[in-house]
């Protein structure tokens, strides 16, 4: 009986943690796709890159947290900015740009995965950070590692912050106006290319946060990038592109599925289930569950 209870609690906690991190990364993807019509297939590689850089700065170079975290964000932001300037910007005027973007970002994903194999892949197989906080939080009688509890709290904070920003802030509201109707938004004086650039940077930063938080909670390996791309694409399609609430709800469902399946079978089977859910959704309702 006690064992069963312990198992249930561990499923709930890991489901919550995995689910919120899924939601954060999917929110980044969904923000980008909803605004720019850019299905960022390299988003999982960006996520992985953020985690790897954080590992490199924090664990290999042993830099303190207040250096390692901002530097990771800066490095990924520089990359996102360069990508937008050099490549993505040129496709904004095209109406059916999403197909070109899918191919381009798949190319980008291939470049990044090659770079990771050639650099990080030569160092080690799994990337485990030295947790900045140790010890356990004891929710009588269940212990939860402090690092994971903090990762969960921060991930939830990122999501809440993002939702509040999109509802309250001027730029956030402009972003939502573009989601809803880009032509009318432009007529109303919103500078769409600038919003696009901002959305790409913001979405990438949200994904970066997801990568750092994942690295805080779990060990990374180089295959996580592709898996995360697939899972977050599935979350975005099922939840509806551009919907942060959709990403949050579906992300939690997927997180719990992952946690439950991991107890009884191989977690890859969960991935299989996500792919099927996404395929079914593509056929039935390509705009997703939470689309307006």
């Amino acid at each position: 009986m006690d064992e069963f209870l312990l198992l249930t609690v561990s499923v709930i906690t890991s489901g919550l943690l995995v689910g919120t991190i899924f939601s954060v990364v999917a929110a980044g993807l969904s923000l980008i796709h909803g605004t720019i019509l850019l299905p960022q297939a390299a988003n999982g590689q960006v996520f992985l890159g953020a985690g790897l850089l954080f590992w490199l700065f924090g664990t290999t170079f042993e830099w303190p947290l207040w250096v390692a975290v901002p530097l990771t964000f800066l490095a990924v932001a520089a990359f996102a900015f360069a990508t937008e300037r050099l490549v993505l910007r040129h496709f904004y005027p095209l109406k059916d740009r999403n197909i070109s973007y899918l191919i381009i970002t798949l190319g980008l994903a291939q470049i990044l995965s090659g770079v990771y194999t050639g650099t990080f892949g030569k160092m080690t197989d799994t990337f485990q950070i030295v947790p900045p906080v140790t010890g356990f939080l004891v929710l009588e009688p269940f212990p939860i590692s402090n690092a994971r509890a903090i990762a969960f709290a921060l991930a939830a904070l990122v999501l809440v912050g993002l939702i509040v920003f999109l509802r309250m802030h001027r730029i956030g509201r402009a972003l939502r106006a573009v989601f809803q109707n880009r032509d009318v938004a432009r007529l109303r004086g919103i500078n769409t290319p600038r919003i696009y650039r901002f959305a790409f940077l913001l979405g990438t930063m949200v994904t970066t946060a997801g990568g750092i938080l994942y690295a805080l909670a779990y060990a990374l390996d180089l295959s996580v990038g592709w898996t995360m791309s697939l899972i977050t694409f599935a979350i975005m399609i099922v939840g509806g592109p551009g919907s942060i609430v959709g990403a949050l709800c579906v992300g939690l469902v997927f997180g719990f599925t992952q946690a439950i399946v991991s107890v009884i079978a191989d977690p890859t089977i969960a991935t299989f289930a996500y792919l099927l859910a996404m395929l079914a959704m593509l056929f039935v309702r390509p705009s997703g569950l939470f689309a307006r």
Binding site: N98, I103, I104, I111, T117, A234, T268, L275, L279
Partner: protein
């Protein structure tokens, strides 16, 4: 006439290397792999170039045939000449199934569904180890035999060359036929084609079946030629890179995919211990082709000649 010369040149180039390479097994192997990729890219061109679909499931379809032929010949005891068409037929059947999403989904959504199905197939290759031996893959598949003896090295590459010529011939015949014209009409404007009485679904399904059959031949030849199949050989990046060969050479031309494969397929072999650079170079090529060379190298040359 010019076109025929270009095709002959591109196909003969690897064969010349073959016969001047002498005992250099490494170069001979590169020639074989390049020829297989020429065949695969030509088949994909039927879908991408002429029908206007981006089939990201292509490598998975080839993989199904590769595993099927490997199983049929190693455990079913069939000869190469029987296992290859059976595997390709299976691939064609799967291809018809995978063309169903195209009835409902357009453009981006079709490509995305392909990405999803391809990923599911990659997982399936690992998780049905009874037929695929999981991550380890199937090794030591015997070489094809002709008149009771295993084909020795320069001749098996010639056999691959014959297959490439046959496939290019089939694509050429299709393009000259009414069916080919229908495909191009669908690519250009689906609604208009439908209004003119072209059955969009039927034509597209048939083109999927033929292209998948070609993918199946390519996959089966790969299994026999390399002697080893693993899930990594048929994942989504492979689909993307075969697409790149067709796109970089020149979509909707007969020469294009051959040229693209000739340029790109040998590349990884020359990178030695820096194989990861392959991904960087291919990825960059994908971005550059999409941005600056949408009609490919051969398409660009044709356009420039038309202008002067």
């Amino acid at each position: 006439m010019n076109r025929a010369l270009a095709i002959a040149f591109v196909i003969l180039a690897p064969l010349v290397v073959l016969f001047t390479a002498g005992d250099n097994q490494f170069l001979v192997f590169i020639v074989g792999i390049t020829l297989i990729h020429m065949l695969l890219a030509s088949g994909l061109n039927l879908l991408y170039g002429y029908t206007g679909l981006i089939p990201l499931t292509y490598a998975g379809i080839a993989g199904i045939s590769a595993y099927a032929t490997a199983n049929l010949s190693m455990f079913g005891g069939l000869s190469f000449w029987l296992a290859l068409p059976l595997g390709s037929l299976l691939a064609a059947a799967v291809g018809v199934l995978l063309s169903l999403p195209a009835i409902r989904l357009r453009g981006f959504y079709f490509a995305l569904s392909g990405l999803v199905i391809q990923s599911a197939m990659s997982i399936a290759f690992v998780y049905f180890p009874r037929y695929t031996n999981g991550d380890t893959g199937i090794a030591s598949i015997p070489r094809p035999t002709l008149f009771g003896a295993a084909l020795p090295s320069p001749w098996i590459e010639c056999l691959l060359g014959v297959f490439v010529i046959a496939v290019v011939g089939v694509v050429w015949l299709i393009m000259r036929s009414r069916f080919g014209a229908s495909l191009i009409a669908i690519r250009e404007d689906e609604d208009l084609a439908r209004a003119l009485g072209v059955s969009v679904t039927l034509n597209r399904t048939v083109s999927f079946a033929i292209a998948s059959f070609i993918a199946g031949i390519g996959g089966g030849l790969y299994a026999y030629y390399v002697g080893f199949v693993s899930p990594r050989a048929f994942d989504v990046l492979v689909s993307l890179n075969i697409w790149l060969m067709a796109a970089m050479g020149g979509r909707a031309t007969l020469v294009g995919p051959l040229l693209g494969a000739l340029i790109l397929a040998p590349l990884p072999f020359f990178l030695q211990q820096y194989t990861w650079l392959k991904d960087v170079i291919y990825g960059l090529a994908i971005i550059l082709v999409t941005m600056y060379l949408p009609s490919g190298i051969y398409g660009y040359l044709l356009k420039r000649r038309a202008r002067s």
